[in-house]
């Protein structure tokens, strides 16, 4: 074996990496791509199943109401703002927004979930009524489970924030939590368009 000589002293490199320099960031991007493919498969199934029915939503099912779901969507979209505020303040070293921002986001997400529960409690069809019911309930249920998971995850992050765990250097946990939050919010837009607008226009 030959001898070795050092061409690089790594001790001078930083011990923290942010955004695309951090492996964790890439890991979350991978998760997001996977989940997006999952939702895309669900949306594709929605349109595929539609071709089996002369009418969509099928006979006997009202086409969806648009006002309340749109309001709920706006609430969900709004929940991303405090999250962004917390994340970007932390980059400048301000830790206070991280203590309250996520709490506002969580509250908005819970409002969204409550609106969904009320809406689907008396929507008039179930997952075992027809294929339309199956796919709509699956999409909404799956997305709501994501929102719920997000709320729980963010609650943990907030707890850590109150215990002063995060700082300017140690913030990758907040960044990836935020990324995931934006994803769950943004992916709702095509889902919302599919199950409300597409259903609404296809029925006419």
């Amino acid at each position: 074996m030959n001898g070795t000589f050092s061409v690089l002293d790594a001790s001078k490199l930083p011990s923290h990496a942010f955004e695309h320099r951090s492996p964790l960031w890439w890991g979350i991007i991978g998760l997001i791509v996977i989940e997006a493919t999952v939702f895309a498969s669900l949306v594709a199934s929605f349109f595929y199943l539609r071709s089996n029915f002369p009418q969509w939503p099928p006979d006997g099912t009202r086409s969806p109401e648009l006002l309340k779901p749109t309001l709920a969507t706006l609430v969900l979209l709004a929940s991303a703002i405090p999250m962004y505020w917390a994340d970007s303040s932390l980059k400048q070293g301000k830790t206070f927004p991280l203590k309250v921002g996520p709490l506002i986001s969580i509250a908005l997400a819970l409002v969204f979930l409550a609106m969904k529960v009320v809406e689907y409690r008396d929507i008039g069809f179930r997952w075992d009524t027809h294929a339309y019911g199956s796919v709509v309930w699956t999409i909404v249920g799956f997305h709501s489970a994501h929102v719920l998971a997000l709320v729980l995850k963010t609650a943990v992050v907030t707890t850590l924030a109150w215990r002063n765990y995060f700082n300017r250097k140690r913030r990758i946990g907040v960044t990836v939590n935020g990324l995931y939050w934006y994803f769950v919010v943004i992916i709702w837009i095509p889902l919302y368009m599919t199950i409300y607008w597409a259903s609404y226009f296809l029925s006419n």
Binding site: S6, V7, K12, A17, P23, W26, N52, T129, Y165
Partner: protein, 637 residues
């Protein structure tokens, strides 16, 4: 490089002691459940994969025993259905994909010159999920309630009305589980390849095996989610009465589309890593740079893309619009182009050299032969009229075994002989290896070639027996006897694996004079993989190091905690140091929680909720920072 101080890196035994201490996996029975090092997890994947290969092989032999004579009554029809279904599930989900991941997990970090994967705990989690899924599947077989609907479980046959009992429920759950495991491994491999290559290993210097694993991982990321969706839909149809696949209301063809959108790429997910193994072996045994590196990389990537355009060729007989059929016929033929380019590059690499005909290379040459035949019959079934004719006959069984065994299992065995010394520190016996190769090769062709003929005669697949007057008896008996020969061939390799553990010749670091970094450390590698992270100057780093007096390395990575070097995506320029987690039991607990959620769903609707809550607890336990105060102090300094 940021600094060129030519300080001599001195090996201090104190540092080695520290490194060993922090990277060591805990010993003992309870320690076993906390391992996270990539060498541990990779080895587990490989061993478990081979165990399932043997189980699937035993099932195949049972089928051949049943088919040896006409109107045989050794297996009853229902049991036969369970067995061919379990054979297919085992080989496709529990053997082929996980074992390729296993080799990747073990070899890739070594090839990249890093100390572990990016997310070691996730890695361990993926393994437990795999283990739970495989165990559940075989539990269902031993309880006599395995699925009996073929490995692709088409509804309406697979729905609750036509397949009562729990077989298909097990199927849907296990399939979902295997996808989780594969997706976890894929993300991890991608990130490790992107961010942890040794300094200087820019993308265009990456070994071809690494490229092939990258392509495989991307294919998994896009192919597995639709399958996950569709297997969950099937579970919902069966358990809570949803109507995704109910004829008349939903559509059984939706399953076929989603399944084959995964199922065709699946074949390439198995096949692409095998291509990488072939390149590694050819480079080493010709001792020359490969011919057409760029062409090989491009055709790997092209194979990845085209693999997604082909799923409909599994559905020709469902009656497609004409134009669609023509399109998919053309696309299916197009896949021949990248395959052709690769074969050409390999032949050109072998041309005019005097390769060492060691066992790994023999398996590669066996691959060439078998794969050409498999490719030819593939081009035949890629055309709609011919496929309609031989659809669901033994011609197809012959074709896909030529592709799968020739295309993946032969290179895999080559890879086993090739990397075994790295894993164990000892070489496998060459004599027994060559004997095993020839038995396997001859046994394989004698088993599967005659099946083409049986298929053209009209013998359908998936039937438990056939009538005497059809005159298929002699050939079937011949096929069954040959499958015994094939089994002996495989067995010889497994005997070789065990014998060589103790009796094999000590291998040293680099027994084959290979070029890539995994051979630049001890065999088996120490828990920290590399004492110093090497710096790479070309495509064949170890060969370049041979020429130089001294090997350039990185120093200054901490030895008193698990730490590794993170580099940039394109050029592998050093960026930062990253602290890695150590042994922990949380991945196992999370896998169990997820198992309760999905597995319990077969029995009651409440379990997904229970699983959700337990998983949440496990995730918090996993990520909760251990010593808040201490860490905070360390960071601010």
């Amino acid at each position: 490089m940021t600094s060129h101080e030519r300080i001599q890196a001195i090996d201090s035994s104190e540092e080695i002691r520290l490194l060993t201490e922090v990277w060591r996996s805990p010993p003992g029975f309870f320690g076993w459940f906390t391992h996270v090092n990539q060498t541990s997890v990779g080895k587990r994947f490989i061993i478990t994969g081979f165990v399932f290969f043997i189980l699937g092989g035993v099932l195949a032999l049972l089928m051949r025993l049943q088919l040896a004579t006409p109107e045989n009554e050794f297996l009853n029809p229902d049991l036969y259905n369970q067995i061919f279904t379990m054979h297919g599930i085992t080989m496709m989900f529990l053997f082929a994909v996980p074992i390729m991941e296993g080799f990747a997990i073990y070899i890739i970090p070594l090839m990249l010159g890093t100390r572990d994967m990016s997310f070691p705990r996730l890695n361990a989690f993926g393994y437990y999920v795999y283990l739970i899924a495989g165990a559940a599947m075989y539990l269902s077989l031993f309880l006599g309630m395995a699925p009996a609907v073929g490995w692709f479980a088409y509804p309406p046959l697979a729905d609750a009305k036509h397949s009562p009992g729990m077989g298909v429920d097990f199927y849907a759950t296990v399939v979902t589980f295997m996808e989780i495991s594969a997706l976890v491994a894929a993300v991890e491999l991608i990130v490790t390849i992107f961010k942890q290559r040794a300094p200087g290993m820019s993308l265009n210097r990456m070994p071809l095996f690494v490229w092939s694993i990258l392509v495989m991982s991307f294919m998994i990321v896009f192919a597995m989610p639709p399958l996950m969706v569709t297997s969950i839909m099937l579970a919902l149809d069966r358990t809570v009465g949803a109507h995704f696949f109910t004829p008349g209301s939903g559509d059984p063809l939706l399953w076929q589309h989603l399944f084959w959108f995964f199922g065709h790429p699946e074949v390439y997910i198995i096949f692409v890593p095998a291509l990488g193994m072939i390149s590694s072996i050819i480079i080493t045994f010709t001792r020359r740079p490969i011919f057409g590196y760029t062409a090989l990389v491009l055709s790997l990537v092209a194979t990845g893309f085209i693999g997604f355009g082909l799923w409909v060729h599994h559905m020709y007989t469902t009656g497609l619009p004409h134009l669609a059929a023509n399109f998919f016929t053309a696309a299916s033929s197009m896949i021949a182009i990248p395959s052709g380019v690769q074969v050409f590059c390999w032949l050109a690499s072998l041309w005019g050299t005097r390769p060492r005909f060691a066992t790994p290379l023999l398996y590669v040459l066996g691959f060439f032969f078998i794969f050409v035949i498999g490719g030819l019959s593939g081009v035949m079934v890629a055309s709609v009229p011919f496929d309609t004719q031989v659809h669901d006959t033994y011609f197809l069984v012959a074709h896909f075994h030529y592709v799968l065994i020739g295309g993946a299992v032969f290179p895999l065995f080559g890879g086993l002989y090739y990397w075994y010394p790295k894993l164990t520190g000892r070489l496998m016996s060459e004599g027994l290896g060559k004997a095993s190769f020839w038995l396997t090769f001859i046994g394989f062709n004698l088993t599967f070639f005659p099946m083409h003929y049986l298929g053209l005669q009209g013998m359908p697949r998936r039937v438990y027996t056939y009538l005497e007057p059809l005159g298929w008896g002699d050939l079937n008996l011949f096929v069954s006897l040959s499958s015994g020969l094939l089994a002996v061939g495989f067995l010889a390799t497994f005997v070789n694996v065990f014998r060589s553990l103790k009796r094999g010749r000590p291998a040293g670091d680099n027994p084959w004079d290979a070029d890539s970094l995994e051979w630049g450390t001890a065999s088996p590698p120490p828990p920290y993989n590399f004492r110093y992270i090497p710096v790479v100057m070309g495509r064949y780093p170890l060969w370049e190091h041979l020429k130089n007096q001294e090997v350039p390395v990185v120093t200054g990575i901490r030895s008193d905690r698990r730490e590794l070097l993170v580099t940039s995506l394109l050029d592998a320029h050093p960026e930062s140091r990253s602290k890695m987690p150590g042994p922990t039991v949380w991945p196992l607990l999370l896998a169990l929680a997820v198992g309760i959620g999905f597995g319990g769903f077969i029995f009651h609707n409440i379990f997904p909720v229970v699983g959700f809550i337990l998983s949440f607890i496990a995730i918090v336990g996993w990520f909760w920072p251990r010593q808040l105060a201490r860490e905070a102090r360390e960071e601010s300094s």
